[in-house]
């Protein structure tokens, strides 16, 4: 069920990119193959993960949440990782790889700003020039993260094209990369894009699942019955799912943003649920499930959380959904906000709005009996970045 052959997951994945970027993808693939098992690379990455990022992150037994929903609920605390989200797992790995490849400049796209911040952190730490593309709509709703990136020495470039959100930031980063491909690494922020990105990002994020496996065995003496993760591009989801994929007794729930409803207008979906209701198509270098109109124009997506607001999804997740190994689900904006408050109030943890989608699904499914006894939820990030937009949404009440 894992990689079938290079760069394809069933019919999904591949390399649908301009010719000018092909040599860079080949170079990256070769470098990754060369370094990923090299003791020096592994040692350096371990050092960064442990002493800089703060890994392993705890697997926390959430007592009051468990009591409320009648399940044993564990939270994988990626919110405690440096930078406040799982995103650093990927940026550390890729930036180190870029450094080994002799690249001096990093570019990245960002939606919520979390990936931008995580890239700015590694850029500063490893002494690389860093430029972050961000839709102006996202810059408005994530102002604190813009300032954080700037503090960290990165340059944030406002993207005014298209829907002015994540997909347009990716377009703009790709345009930068075609121009500066020789000295620049495009540090993509999720398991999307052309091969080898979906596999590289998955591998760097699978540290989440590998730790979870050991931690749950230690605490419960057995594996969980289900795992829930929010899904935008899908990196925190596949990161925690990956080591469990071949064990079909464990149910894997990928929760997408249900936004304001499952309908679409002519040019925009009111949600971001590409796994649940998207169709086969090609976006940002890969064949995957995307939100599109009958002609193949990409629909804008919508979500209360900028980090899930994306019209596509990683190709491996599209494949795993197609073969019914993972269960795509949705949580609406409203359900998400309720979960955001709930975790804050009963566990003393303010979750990222993205992660609150996974928590919302616990609330939705708790009575349905589909979750089993032991449930692990990937708490992909913390919610400090979201306070301003939640305040605004709820009218400062």
């Amino acid at each position: 069920m894992k990689n079938q052959f290079k760069g394809k997951f069933g019919q999904f994945g591949g390399q649908f990119i301009p010719e000018v970027l092909m040599p860079a993808h080949k170079e990256l693939e070769a470098a990754y193959e060369q370094w990923k098992n090299d003791p020096r690379f592994i040692k350096e990455l371990d050092y960064y993960r442990r002493d800089f990022a703060g890994r392993p992150s705890p697997l926390y037994y959430a007592r009051r949440l468990s009591k409320k929903y009648g399940h044993k609920v564990y939270l994988k605390r990626e919110d405690l990782i440096h930078g406040g989200a799982h995103k650093l797992n990927n940026t550390l790995g890729q930036a180190l790889l870029a450094k080994y490849m002799g690249k001096r400049r990093l570019i990245a796209e960002t939606g919520a700003g979390q990936h931008g911040v995580a890239t700015a952190i590694v850029g500063a730490n490893m002494g690389m020039t860093t430029q972050i593309y961000m839709g102006v709509k996202d810059m408005e709703r994530q102002r604190m993260n813009v300032y954080r990136m700037e503090l960290l020495g990165a340059k944030v470039i406002p993207v005014t094209s298209g829907s002015q959100t994540l997909k347009d930031a990716i377009n703009e980063a790709m345009r930068d990369w075609v121009t500066n491909v020789e000295d620049t690494h495009y540090l993509i922020g999720s398991v999307v894009g052309a091969h080898p990105f979906p596999s590289i990002v998955r591998d760097f994020q699978s540290v989440i699942g590998i730790e979870t496996e050991a931690q749950i065995i230690e605490q419960e003496g057995r594996l969980p019955d289900s795992i829930i993760a929010c899904t935008g591009g899908g990196s925190n989801a596949i990161g925690i799912f990956y080591p469990f994929i071949d064990n079909t007794e464990i149910d894997l729930f990928a929760v997408e943003a249900g936004g304001m409803g499952m309908q679409s207008t002519k040019t925009a979906a009111l949600h971001s649920a590409s796994l649940c209701v998207g169709e086969d198509g090609i976006l940002h270098g890969a064949r995957t499930k995307i939100l599109q109109d009958p002609y193949g124009q990409i629909l804008e997506s919508c979500s209360v959380s900028a980090g899930l607001d994306y019209s596509g999804v990683g190709p491996q997740l599209a494949y795993l959904a197609q073969i019914k190994r993972i269960k795509p689900r949705t949580a609406s904006d409203k359900e998400t906000l309720a979960a955001f408050h709930e975790l804050s109030e009963i566990e003393g943890i303010i979750p990222a709005l993205e992660s609150a989608h996974a928590l919302a699904y616990l609330a939705k499914a708790a009575d349905k009996g589909e979750l089993g006894e032991i449930v692990v939820i990937n708490l992909s990030g913390r919610g400090d970045k979201d306070l301003e937009s939640v305040l605004k949404l709820e009218g400062n009440k």
Partner: protein
């Protein structure tokens, strides 16, 4: 008209090809195409607008957005092309998702039925183009591949061997957009590509001087996009200015 016939005709006259790109649905497209052809454009590349055009710079992005806002879509595109009354090769330039969504067979059949004889897909790599290539062969349509300053060695050879119609030489690293010089990489690329198929250079060409230099460098044609689209976007004296620019650039290819 097939692309090869046009290049043969131009070869006999010892002329380089002036290939004009405009985006369908931005402005009065049939009128614009006639203006381009009357002014001496040898081939017209008609963009089918896509919402996420990663290979385009700001000028063509804006044109694509206007076209989409005007309601251009794949059905209307083919209907419009069918009604065009011009005797030159017409090519479609678009992104792969629009072709994929329509279905490769249907898209290429629609091309044939409406008079399109070539397809350019800037986000389709050689690795993924096999199926479309077969459909193109079935419908007697040329699939035009792009090569770039970083395309080298065996990779360059395979792309060249799979190209038909002409080979699109991307003049420099970057997106589309008008420039006023010719990069060193352009001339190197022209020399590096060894083939009997015509070579046309695009990305950044906007003037007669560039046309002359590229023609001297050994190319069989040039592709002009953003400079024309700029005029269309301005909305100001469009017909006369397009006519003048095409004539001026074409004069550098004779």
């Amino acid at each position: 008209m097939r692309i090869a016939d046009k290049f043969n005709e131009l070869n006999r006259r010892d002329e380089g090809a002036m290939i004009a790109y405009v985006c369908a649905g931005d402005g009065d497209t049939p009128g614009i195409v006639h203006t381009l052809v009357n002014a001496g454009a040898d081939i017209v590349e008609l963009g089918l607008p896509f919402s996420d055009p990663v290979a385009e710079g700001p000028t063509i992005q804006a044109s694509i957005q206007r076209a989409l806002d005007n309601g251009m879509n794949t059905d209307r595109y083919f209907a419009m092309v069918k009604d065009l009354d011009v005797n030159i090769p017409l090519l479609v330039m678009t992104y792969y998702n629009l072709i994929f969504k329509r279905g490769l067979k249907k898209f290429t059949a629609d091309c044939r039925d409406s008079g399109i004889t070539g397809i350019i897909v800037p986000d389709l790599s050689m690795e993924e183009s096999g199926e479309l290539e077969e459909c193109c062969i079935d419908n007697e349509i040329d699939l035009i591949y792009l090569v770039t300053p970083v395309t080298k060695g065996e990779r360059l050879d395979s792309i060249v061997s799979r190209s038909s119609g002409f080979i699109y030489l991307v003049s420099r690293l970057g997106v589309t957009g008008a420039r006023d010089d010719v990069a060193v990489s352009t001339k190197e690329l022209i020399n590096r590509v060894k083939t009997d198929i015509p070579k046309a250079v695009g990305f950044g060409i906007s003037s007669r001087e560039q046309a002359v230099e590229i023609r001297k460098g050994g190319a069989d044609g040039i592709i002009v996009g953003s400079a024309l689209v700029d005029i269309i976007g301005s909305g100001h004296d469009v017909t006369n200015r397009l006519d003048a620019l095409v004539r001026q650039i074409k004069s550098g290819l004779k």
